[in-house]
């Protein structure tokens, strides 16, 4: 159905989807030029909740910017913490103790699962299925409870520090994480039986919402959007950071480039994250969780630096320009949803409204990250 109506009437109207609309999951507005129920032109309109994190970064010290990172992608905040910690460590040459790296990986992967779970629920909600949301929240709640015990917060984490993490994990956390891995492994078949194999869902996602590989490249789409188009690109493998190379995990890649492929990529990623957590818990070393020699006022040497991590939505990169003082001269935040959303304008052209919204949901947008 991904084609224009065979006989367009040339009578179009503009449908304003948003800024408040149930399907946009945030303050996103999409100006749709419609021909009946066919989308002729789709133009996302952004900036309703733009907070100018990049300017904020220039006005505070390196360390003071850390809480901001958790407020961009509130669903995978720890990856954002991680990237900022990594880039400053790269710039200032700080070594991170091994135990801290393990804790970072475990918490960050737990956070990734929670992000995918929320996406899963919200995506099915977009398609009109209500109940999976509550099931997914049930599992997500376990992760939030776990992370709350070590980070002190449930959503906008600020847990990583330059040179380590703020708080060591204890046996309760480890036991809880192990229990969660076991629980989640049991739940995944249920999700697949309940949702993935549902005939209506398959009909709504298969062969709909094509974002092919070349389109991904032209628009710079990353994450599950690219992996659903057959591009084997995951920063964790591609540009290894932290201690990811030590773990044995696969990058799920699907070649269909449709909404179903992106759905499957995320569902498989949950399982891969569970594998990483399990391995990390097994190999957890003892030791400190903070580097010893982290200067109080951090002054990374002059120059510009780039670092990227894989968040739940794709590659998140920071370009930091340091002028040798304790405040960044420039912080560019390259957020994945932003690039993934640009695809929508071209990909949605000629689709029916419900399919276009399924495509929008399958991109997994977090609006505060687009309007950072």
């Amino acid at each position: 159905m991904n084609a224009f109506a065979p006989n367009p009437t040339n009578e179009t109207f503009v449908l304003n989807l948003g800024p408040q609309h149930p399907a946009t999951h945030g303050v996103l507005r999409i100006k749709l030029v419609m021909d009946g129920e066919y989308v002729v032109e789709a133009e996302p309109v952004l900036g309703y909740i733009h907070r100018m994190h990049e300017k904020m970064g220039e006005n505070r010290t390196w360390a003071q910017f850390m809480p901001n990172t958790g407020r961009m992608d509130y669903l995978h905040a720890l990856a954002y913490n991680h990237n900022f910690a990594c880039i400053v460590e790269r710039a200032a040459g700080i070594e991170v103790p091994e135990r801290a790296e393990f804790i970072r990986v475990i918490t960050s992967e737990l956070n990734r699962i929670s992000s995918h779970l929320l996406w899963f629920g919200a995506f099915i909600l977009d398609l009109g299925g209500f109940s999976p949301l509550l099931y997914a929240f049930d599992d997500r709640e376990q992760i939030l409870d776990l992370l709350e015990t070590v980070t002190g917060s449930r959503l906008t984490y600020c847990y990583f520090r330059f040179g380590g993490v703020y708080n060591d994990i204890d046996e309760n956390f480890e036991a809880g994480a192990r229990a969660f891995v076991a629980r989640m492994r049991e739940r995944m078949p249920m999700y697949h039986a309940l949702v993935t194999k549902n005939i209506i869902l398959m009909k709504r996602l298969t062969d709909i919402g094509h974002v092919p590989a070349e389109m991904c490249r032209k628009y710079g789409a990353t994450g599950p959007v690219a992996r659903g188009a057959g591009i084997d690109f995951d920063v964790r493998k591609h540009e290894p950071f932290s201690i990811y190379p030590r773990f044995d995990f696969d990058i799920p890649v699907y070649h269909e480039a449709d909404s179903m492929a992106r759905y499957m990529v995320r569902m498989d990623e949950i399982e891969q994250s569970l594998r990483i957590i399990e391995q990390a818990l097994g190999a957890m070393p003892e030791g400190p969780v903070m580097a010893e020699k982290v200067p109080k006022t951090l002054k990374p040497p002059k120059g510009d630096y780039y670092h990227a991590v894989e968040t739940a939505r794709g590659s998140f990169g920071i370009r930091a320009v340091s002028d040798g003082t304790n405040t960044p001269w420039r912080l560019k935040l390259r957020t994945p949803s932003y690039s993934n959303l640009i695809v929508f304008g071209e990909a949605a052209r000629g689709m029916l409204l419900p399919d276009a919204l399924a495509l929008l949901g399958s991109l997994d947008l977090v609006i505060p990250e687009i309007d950072r």
Partner: protein, 211 residues
């Protein structure tokens, strides 16, 4: 990725300076400086060799020229003393500069933002305009190879050709860069503010911007 395979065609483009960067320390592999006129040629080369665009951004180098000159002129030890002596003189020259410069208002306002721009107080003594730099980040899906393309333009006439026909993603990135830095991307088909309000006439990421 064979570095030569990409550097050779890039070096063939006039006015480019290609520099390999220490990836471990900096996070990217190649730095390409190019003049605005030849930016599109560089980007075309990157497109042909299969790079994808990560982002386009800007850096405001307000105060850079002053700092460079200062470095050359004065020894580090005399810095504090010289700055105090020039304080009064600086104010005078700032007003003199206003009449000659195209964009006087930002110049006058930039002084009260010393936190954001530590070198700023020395700026007025230099007649040259500072640069705005546009940075284009490219990456590859198959192998790890990051390229940063840098284009420098003067702050008062920051005109750069658009690359939105080559990479459609640049549509948004360029609109964002214009919002925040005031670049003019010549040939961009739809230059309306993306993240700022429709009627915004300010550029918040310029160093002389005060809320």
């Amino acid at each position: 990725m064979d570095t030569d395979a990409i550097t050779r065609p890039l070096e063939a483009v006039p006015t480019t300076a290609v520099k390999t960067v220490d990836y471990k320390a900096r996070g990217f592999h190649l730095e390409v400086s190019v003049s605005p006129q030849h930016l599109r040629d560089v980007v075309t080369v990157l497109d042909r060799t299969g790079f994808f665009i990560e982002t386009i951004t800007g850096v405001d180098w307000l105060g850079e020229k002053a700092a460079l000159r200062k470095e050359a002129e004065a020894a580090a030890a005399a810095k504090a003393k010289a700055a105090a002596a020039k304080a009064a003189k600086a104010a005078e020259e700032a007003s003199a500069e206003v009449s000659t410069e195209e964009s006087p208002a930002p110049k006058a306002e930039k002084a009260p933002a010393p936190v954001a721009a530590p070198e700023a107080p020395k700026q007025p003594e230099v007649p040259q305009t500072d640069d705005l730099e546009a940075v284009y980040d490219f990456n590859r899906y198959d192998t790890l190879f990051r390229v940063a393309v840098r284009v420098r333009v003067p702050r008062d006439t920051p005109e750069i050709p658009t690359i939105s026909e080559i990479y459609p993603a640049a549509h948004w990135h360029e609109r964002e860069a214009r919002d925040f830095f005031g670049f003019t991307f010549a040939g961009h088909p739809y230059m309306v503010p993306l993240l700022l309000p429709e009627d915004a006439d300010f550029h918040p990421l310029r160093k002389d911007f005060t809320a």
